[in-house]
Amino acid sequence: MTAIRIENLSKTYRDGWRRTAVAALRNLSLEVKEGEIFGFLGPNGAGKTTTIHLLLDLLRPTSGSAHIFDQPAGDAMVRRRLGYLPESVNLPDYHSGRSLLEFYAALNGMPRPTRAGRIDELLKLLKLDEAAARRVTKFSKGMLQRLGFAQALLHEPDLIVLDEPTSSLDPVGRKEFRDILLELKRQGKTVFISSHILSEVESVCDRVAILSKGELVRIGTLQELSAPKSVKLIVRSVREALLEALAATTAEISLARGEATIKCPDDATRATVEKLLTEHQVGIERTEVETQSLEDIFFSAIASKKEP
C-alpha cells in the first residue's frame, strides 16, 4: 500500500484585483511508500507547502488528486493515521501546553486512560515537561515547534507530514529531532518531510523529490540521483609519450610524489584513458570515484529547470 499517492496535481491561484493566474503547482505525480522517509525539497516558492496543503485538504486542487493510504485526501477518518506539523506553528493561545495536547488527543479519538501517559511521554521526549502548565502564549518559537511536533506524534500516526520542521530549532534541537526521525523509521512509520536544510534530509531520507517552479524535476534515492561526478585513476611511472597522448583527451592530469592522478569527467574519457594506459603498458594503482552530494544534486536539478 502507498502512504501517499499524488496524481497530476495542479494548483493555480488567482492573485490581485485583476485575478491574474499564478500556477503554484503543475501536474505533480509521486508516490511515497509505507515505511519510508521521503524528503521533499525545493527553493522558496517551489510549491512544497502548496503540495502539503493540497494533501491535507486545506486547499482545493485545480486538477488532479491526492490520496492518503488509498483514501481521498479529504476523508476525515483517514486523518486518524496522519500527524502534521505546519511550517509556522500557530496554536490556540488560550490553552496550556498540556491542555492543548489533551484537546488534540480527544479529537484524535484517543481513549481517556491512555492520554495522560502518552502526553507525559511526549512532553518529556521533547523537553517540554517543565513548561507543560504554561500558557502557549508564553512559549518561545522553538518550544512552539516542539509542541507542534508533540501534537503531530501524539496519536502515534502511521504517516507524519512535516513542513520545515527544524526551522526554529537550535543545533541541539535539530540533532534530537533527527534522532526522533530515525526512531520513527525504526518503528516503520512513514515520514514526509519538506525542508530547506539539505544535510538534514540527506542524513535521514530514503528517497527525495526535488521541486522547482511548481514542477517535479527529480525523484529517487540518493544513489539513483547522484551520478558519478568524476573518476580518478592513480598510476605510477608516467612517460612523456603517455602524457602527450593524455593531453589530447579531456582528462586532467596532476603529478605528485611520483604518482599521476588522471581525473576523468565522464565515462567516455575514462574509456579512452584506460585504452591509452593499456597501450603504454601502465597499470592502474587505484581508482577513486567522486559522487555528488545532495547539495550538488539539488543545485544541478534547479539549474536544469532554469535552462530554457
Partner: protein, 294 residues
C-alpha cells in the same frame, strides 16, 4: 457528535478567554449596579415629591394636630421613605404606585434595550470571529488535520457560540429580575418572553455574521449583519422581503407600556428565527466546504 461537542466546548473556552468579551460582560455588570443605585435614588426622590405635594395640599383649616401629623409625615419621609408611604392618603398612595409602575416599566424597558444591544454586539463579535479568526491566525490548520470534518467543525463553532449566547441571555434576564427585586419593582408582563426573543434575535444576527465572515473581514461582516434588517425599507421595496426582520423580536414598546406579548406571536417569531438560522447555516456550510483555509 462527540467531535462536534469537543469543538463546541473548545470554542466556549476560547470565547471565555477573549478580553473583549469579558470586558463587555463586566460593563454589563457595572451597568446593573449603576442602574440599581440610580433607580433607588429616583424612587426616594419620587416618594419625597409625592409626600411633599401631599403635605402642601393638606387643608389649611386643619388643626395644629393635623399640621403636626403632616410634619411627622415629612420628617419620616426624610429618614425612611417606605414607612412614610404608609402614612399617605389612599389617593396619594395610588398616585405614587402609578408613578412607580411607570418608572418600573421605563427602567426595565431601558434595561432590556441595553441588554439586547449589548447582546447583539457580543453575538456579532462571537459569530463573526469564530471561524474567520481561526483561518486568519492559521490555528484551524492543525485542527482540521485531525479526524474532524468541516461540517463538524462549523457546527461545533456554532454550538459554542449558541452556548455562550444562552449564558448571556440567562445572565441578562437574571440581572433584570434581580434588579427589579432589589428595587422592589413589579416585573413587566413582557419580561416573560423578552429574554427568549432577545436570544433568538441575537442568534439570527450571529448566523448572518458567521456566513458573511466566510466571505469578508469579520468586522465588515458584523457591520453588514447589524444593518441588514428590513426595518429601513418600506413594504413596497423588494429588500423588505429579502432581508431579515429583527423588529418583531424587540419588545421594548410592550415593556414600556407594560403590555403582554402573546404566546402565538412568540411561537411564530421563534419559527421565523429557526427558519432563518437554518438557511444561514446551510449557506455557511456550502461556502465552508470548499473554502480554502490557507
Amino acid at each position: 457528535m462527540k467531535t462536534t461537542l469537543l469543538i463546541a466546548v473548545d470554542s466556549i473556552r476560547a470565547l471565555l478567554h477573549q478580553r473583549l468579551l469579558l470586558g463587555l460582560m463586566l460593563i454589563a455588570l457595572a451597568m446593573i449596579a449603576i442602574f440599581s443605585v440610580v433607580l433607588i435614588g429616583q424612587r426616594k426622590f419620587v416618594t419625597q415629591v409625592v409626600i411633599d405635594e401631599s403635605v402642601a395640599n393638606a387643608p389649611a383649616s386643619e388643626n395644629s394636630e393635623g399640621k403636626a401629623d403632616a410634619d411627622a409625615h415629612a420628617g419620616a419621609a426624610k429618614t425612611k421613605s417606605p414607612a412614610s408611604e404608609r402614612h399617605l392618603s389612599k389617593e396619594d398612595q395610588q398616585k405614587l404606585a402609578e408613578q412607580m409602575d411607570q418608572m418600573a416599566s421605563m427602567f426595565q424597558a431601558a434595561f432590556y434595550q441595553m441588554a439586547s444591544f449589548g447582546g447583539s454586539l457580543v453575538s456579532l463579535f462571537i459569530f463573526s470571529t469564530a471561524v474567520a479568526t481561526e483561518i486568519r491566525k492559521g490555528t484551524i490548520r492543525i485542527t482540521l488535520t485531525k479526524p474532524v470534518s468541516r461540517n463538524q467543525y462549523l457546527l461545533g463553532k456554532y454550538l459554542g457560540g449558541i452556548a455562550v449566547m444562552a449564558g448571556y441571555a440567562l445572565i441578562a434576564s437574571a440581572a433584570i429580575m434581580l434588579f427589579a427585586r432589589f428595587a422592589r419593582l413589579e416585573l413587566s408582563p413582557a419580561m416573560k418572553f423578552a429574554p427568549w426573543l432577545m436570544f433568538c434575535r441575537q442568534l439570527m444576527l450571529g448566523s448572518l455574521a458567521m456566513l458573511l465572515s466566510l466571505y469578508i473581514h469579520p468586522f465588515l461582516a458584523s457591520v453588514l449583519a447589524f444593518f441588514a434588517g428590513n426595518g429601513l425599507y418600506s413594504k413596497y421595496n423588494p429588500l423588505f422581503y429579502i432581508l431579515p426582520s429583527y423588529s418583531g423580536f424587540n419588545v421594548f414598546r410592550q415593556m414600556l407600556q407594560g403590555s403582554l406579548v402573546s404566546g402565538k406571536d412568540v411561537l411564530l417569531l421563534s419559527l421565523y428565527a429557526l427558519d432563518f438560522i437554518i438557511v444561514m447555516m446551510l449557506l455557511a456550510w456550502w461556502r465552508f466546504r470548499t473554502k480554502e483555509l490557507v
